[in-house]
């Protein structure tokens, strides 16, 4: 099996089937979120789906669903100012979820005793359309220098979907997850797409090596542009803050591939067997030499 066969197997192992537990759970919460938003704000908000599912970059190891809740430009149903809309959407979702406010999104987690703080991998992004055409949108930026950011979901989705390098993006997402790199996914995607311009037809292993080599050799952060707002969303600082770590990880990975091969980066791909993970875990537990029992300080 050569490197490209191996990488394709890694990608296959990261597929989330339509009937997977993970996607079914996302769909259940998606319906619940829509119900909550409609109950509070009626039929005026435009509720749409973004994130990795919409872009085709979903991986099993790190998946999420972005639900945008955009209010028409002439409506005050969720408040007048962007901050008010953000806060009112948060309050509405807090009826059912533990809501973790992030810069622009509201991350939904469990708040019942059985699933307290379990991450449902759902971000709700409140915003308001800039005009009647309902294309560009303003979203609120909590504790950011600029509290209002213009964006366009369709442009973002089209940029990634039309890049022709979805497989590379998915593998880099897996790499980023495994290495715990805190680079913003969308910014990282923009970087990958930029670096792989003109390399769409190259084998996947060449694409990956090219990106890592370029990052590793570049002392200064590479500039990327938000296609939905090239002049108004300066990503320079975002990239600069993660560049040293990203560069270090890219250099380490190139060394790992050179000395230990690709499997040392993405791990072995399990052969398909009839055993479920739980059955395998049960067998693994049976051969533990030093078992111990978990405890919890509070009842």
């Amino acid at each position: 099996m050569d490197a490209n066969d191996y990488l394709n197997r890694v990608l296959s192992a990261q597929n989330l089937g339509e009937d997977s537990t993970e996607l079914k759970e996302l769909q259940t919460h998606r319906a619940e979120v829509e119900k909550l938003l409609c109950a509070s704000f009626g039929s005026q908000p435009i509720i749409r789906y973004g994130g990795s599912n919409a872009k085709g970059t979903i991986i099993k190891e790190y998946y999420d669903l972005d639900i945008v809740c955009y209010i028409p430009s002439d409506s005050d149903v969720a408040g007048k100012a962007l901050a008010e809309i953000y806060e009112n959407v948060r309050k509405c979702l807090a009826a059912k979820y533990y809501v973790e406010p992030r810069t622009s999104a509201l991350r939904l987690k469990g708040n019942s005793p059985a699933d307290y703080m379990r991450d449902f991998h759902i971000d709700v992004v409140p915003g308001r359309f800039t005009d009647e055409s309902q294309t560009d949108c303003f979203i609120y930026q909590k504790s950011a220098e600029k509290c209002r950011l213009k964006t366009n979901l369709d442009v973002h989705i089209a940029h990634v979907k039309g890049s022709g390098v979805i497989d590379a993006i998915r593998l880099f997402k897996l790499w980023k997850t495994r290495k715990s790199l805190s680079v913003k996914q969308f910014v990282f995607e923009l970087l990958i797409i930029d670096l792989l311009k003109g390399m769409k037809s190259k084998p996947i292993s060449d694409q990956l090596l090219h990106v890592w080599r370029t990052i590793s050799e570049q002392a200064d952060p590479i500039h990327v542009e938000d296609p939905a707002n090239p002049s108004g969303n300066d990503l320079t600082d975002v990239m600069a803050s993660v560049w040293p770590v990203l560069r270090g990880a890219a250099t380490d990975t190139l060394n790992t591939i050179q000395w230990s091969g690709w499997e040392a980066v993405f791990g072995q791909v399990a052969a398909t067997t009839s055993f479920t993970i739980a059955e395998k875990a049960q067998r693994a537990a049976a051969s533990v030499n030093t078992p111990n029992r978990p405890w919890c300080p509070k009842k």
Partner: protein
């Protein structure tokens, strides 16, 4: 003891980094201000294959390895509930009663912690997610679970007896004229002297003291 462990003992930090890099290449050792953390994707291995993965963060305490590392699952997969052995207040996982870990002969090795309590904990989580029981059982939550663990450590079941044993073992030296902690009212030298000396080899004074402290100063209620 002043300063942080990694400043006092840079050799141990290098060992931690080397062990983690050699066995779990997706985990990174990060020194942030005064704290050493291990962060990344923990592979749940069986027979050379990855069964599953969990995003984790392990904080090595300022007096590592004299205290137990603190484990957190940071991917949001495991709810913060006592039934899943995660502290609801701060998300800290409780893979093992801390003093039990400090009694493991390899407790200074982070690799042993990853391959022992951490792996056992996540094997359990995979099984519990699938609706199965904890593979090695589970400790009762709260103080009763501590008494279970400490009782097994000292070989007693009565709470007051466990406390007396721990109190005895927390002293730097054992004295034969002390009352035997078993409650017989005999002198230690005429009762469980040999047993206590054997226990002392397994349970150092610092571990017994830490157990007493965790019990809130030694109340048996």
């Amino acid at each position: 003891m002043k300063g942080f462990w990694h400043e006092r003992n840079p050799g141990l930090l290098r060992t931690v980094e080397k062990e983690v890099a050699a066995q779990c290449s997706d985990l990174l050792v990060i020194v942030e201000e005064d704290t050493v953390r291990i962060r990344g994707s923990f592979p749940l291995m069986d027979d050379g294959m990855v069964l599953d993965r969990f995003l984790i963060e392990i904080t090595l305490p300022p007096d590592f390895p004299e205290s137990t590392p603190v484990l957190r699952e940071v991917g949001g997969r495991i709810p913060w509930t006592a039934d899943r052995h995660v502290n609801q207040r701060n998300g800290e996982a409780c893979p093992i009663v801390p003093e039990e870990w400090l009694m493991w002969p390899e407790h200074e090795s982070i690799l042993a912690f990853l391959e022992g309590p951490v792996r056992n904990f996540f094997l359990g989580q995979v099984l519990v997610e699938a609706g199965r029981p904890w593979p090695f059982g589970e400790r009762t939550h709260g103080v009763p679970g501590l008494f279970e663990a400490y009782g097994e450590m000292v070989g007693a079941s009565d709470r007051n007896t466990i406390l007396r044993y721990l109190d005895c073992l927390s002293k730097e030296t054992l004295k034969g004229h002390w009352d035997c902690p078993c409650g017989s009212a005999k002198r230690l030298r005429n009762c469980h002297w040999d047993d206590l000396k054997a226990l002392r080899k397994k349970i150092p004074p610092s571990v017994a003291g830490s157990a007493l402290e965790r019990l809130g100063g030694g109340t048996a209620s």
